[in-house]
Symmetry: C2
Subunit: 154 residues, 2 copies
DNA sequence: TTAGGTGCAAATTCTTTGCACCCTG
DNA sequence: CAGGGTGCAAAGAATTTGCACCTAA
């Protein structure tokens, strides 16, 4: 719904404004990468975006897609699913629980909440498939990152 | 809380039972990998687990850690954060929204819910840091995976 | 004993980087 | 026109795999 056609034009306008605001050049490649992500509803990874774009831009390179995706992320125009630029992380806590994830360093901690354990997704979600578990992810800056907010991290 | 010391023994017992139930040998390496994950509260990645284990088992290899982690995951003894074995995925939907993620194939779809938009984490979460966003992740099997449930996927 | 498990090293796969040429502003 | 941006190819990381030896059952 949110990515509906009638909004796409506005979002592309916004993208153009943000580029010029940030002093970043508006290239054909950047525009198409943004459009592809904005139109997709399946949250593709870099290589999928590349594959799709090649149909209309046969010469676009995978590394440009990577560079552009991270640029858009830095500009706050797109975001990533799960902890950014992180490896797969493991969890041995099988009880129902929820996560706090630092959006800067990826620090992750469990917490529990009876209220959150009983969340009931809207009926429309059932059209996607069978629901097995519902979990809350809280994002924010961890104490550590707040403390060293001035220092570089990445 | 959930990983408190007094529970560790029970969890290791459970792990041993599951191994024998699955016909999988109980090796020193597997036990230590499981113990490390069960004791850690920071959801380490494979290489972090390896690094920690080398202090007490200098010869354990990184590939054994990988193999063991996925084995434990298959046995349902641990789980992963975010979409399993997936690359970084991107999201251009900046409005507040929530996700349905297929636990088998990783298919991800957005949905919205006013109720979920206003969730308020328990006060204890504030001790981790500053809260910026709260989002619900619904896990389950997507229609596609339900349909081809018999076929191999991975 | 003996098949499954491990360590090592090599192979894959994914992502990033250096550099020369191109195109936006 | 100038400097940022792109494509290409090569480098770097992360993860997986083949194989011979080892060990739990």
């Amino acid at each position: 719904m949110k990515s509906a056609k009638h909004e796409l034009g506005q979002r592309i306008e916004h993208f153009k404004q943000e580029c010029s605001k940030a002093g970043v050049r508006l290239t054909h490649q950047r525009l198409e990468v943004f459009r592809e992500i904005a139109e997709a509803c399946d949250h593709p990874d870099a290589s999928t975006v590349h594959k799709r774009l090649r149909k209309t831009m046969p010469t676009i390179s995978l590394d440009t897609v990577y560079r552009t995706l991270w640029l858009l992320d830095d500009l706050g125009l797109i975001s990533t699913l799960g902890p950014t630029r992180e490896r797969t992380r493991f969890d041995a806590n099988l009880d129902c629980h929820h996560h706090f994830v630092c959006s800067r360093c990826g620090m992750t901690r469990d917490f529990s909440s009876e209220e959150f354990d009983d969340l009931d997704p809207p009926p429309s979600v059932k059209t996607f498939g069978r629901i097995e578990m519902t979990r809350v992810e809280v994002n924010g800056l961890c104490r550590n990152c707040i403390a060293e907010n001035a220092k570089p991290e990445r």
